[in-house]
């Protein structure tokens, strides 16, 4: 019995196992990347927020004072300010002047959404009412959260 040859023979199992492991990992990564790709919802979220603010401004008048605007959005337009500060961007211009701005990012970052995943995906809309020009910029940075349940 050639012990050296036999030992060499058994040693070849390890490269084989390494090859199988690499193959299994590659297949797993490929499947994971394909089936777990994110459903990008930021633009949809921005549009919903923009629409809500627009509908509200069409029916009601925007207050002058910043604090009153905050209450107006919370109580009249039914927009949760905490959620805006956490996951959204909202800027309201009246006659090209910023009257209200809130959110996790600045609206100036809106153009970077195709470059950076953390930048907000924004929607802009315009409204003219009683000779007042409103511009509403809304954006979303929200991603879904996986929780242990």
């Amino acid at each position: 019995m050639n012990c050296k040859a036999q030992a060499g023979d058994w040693l070849m199992i390890f490269p084989f196992m390494l090859f199988c492991t690499i193959l299994a990992i590659t297949i797993s990564i490929g499947l994971g990347a394909f089936f777990q790709s994110d459903y990008d919802f930021k633009k949809v979220d921005s549009t919903s927020l923009n629409q809500k603010v627009l509908d509200c401004l069409e029916k009601e008048n925007l207050p002058e004072n910043q604090e009153h605007i905050k209450d107006f959005l919370e109580n009249t337009c039914k927009i949760n300010q905490n959620k805006i500060n956490e996951h959204f961007v909202l800027t309201i211009f009246v006659n090209n002047e910023i009257k209200y701005s809130a959110g996790s990012h600045d609206s100036s970052e809106c153009n970077l959404d195709e470059i950076s995943a953390s930048s907000p995906a924004c929607i802009t809309s315009l409204l003219e009412k009683n000779s007042v020009n409103y511009k509403i910029i809304s954006g979303s940075t929200q991603n879904s959260e996986e929780k242990l349940a």
């Binding site: 199992i13 084989f16 299994a24 297949i27 089936f35 039914k78 949760n80 879904s144 959260e145 242990l148």
Partner: protein, 138 residues
């Protein structure tokens, strides 16, 4: 040269290689099967779509949604009970969808309303989620 001993050694080597190969292939297939089920992707999709519906709703609205696909996946993955599939958290303005036993996908909504009376109706004729929207309780 002892041919019988050599044949026996070759056979033993082959058996070991085949066993290792079968183990790796079966574990890869099990993993692949769990991923193609798509529970994570569907939970993400449903949580976002339900939050969109809530964001566009007004107090007094009654919402009915088709969750046939979600319930099929939840049933296949042996999620505890169907009522755990979709859960609303009014304090956090959050909706969570659970389609696998230990993981839920959660998404926030900005509409300042409460979701009440969530219910899953089985086979009417498809599985439906119903809930009502009311004014936020302070």
């Amino acid at each position: 040269m002892n041919k019988k001993a050599e044949t026996s050694n070759n056979l033993w080597d082959t058996v070991v290689y085949v066993i290792i190969l079968v183990l790796f292939v079966s574990s890869t297939l099990i993993f692949a099967r769990s991923r193609t089920n798509g529970a994570s992707l569907w939970a993400d999709y449903y949580s976002k779509e339900i939050s969109k519906v809530i964001n566009l709703a007004e107090p007094g609205d009654e919402i009915t949604l088709d969750i046939q696909k979600a319930t099929e996946i939840a049933f296949k993955n042996q999620v505890g009970s169907l009522s755990e599939t979709v859960q609303f958290n009014n304090a956090q303005n959050e909706v969570c969808v659970k389609l696998s036993p230990n993981q839920a996908s959660c998404y926030d909504y900005f509409n300042n309303v409460d979701v009440i009376n969530p219910e899953i109706k089985i086979a009417s004729p498809i599985n439906l989620l119903t809930f009502k929207i009311e004014e936020k309780k302070k």
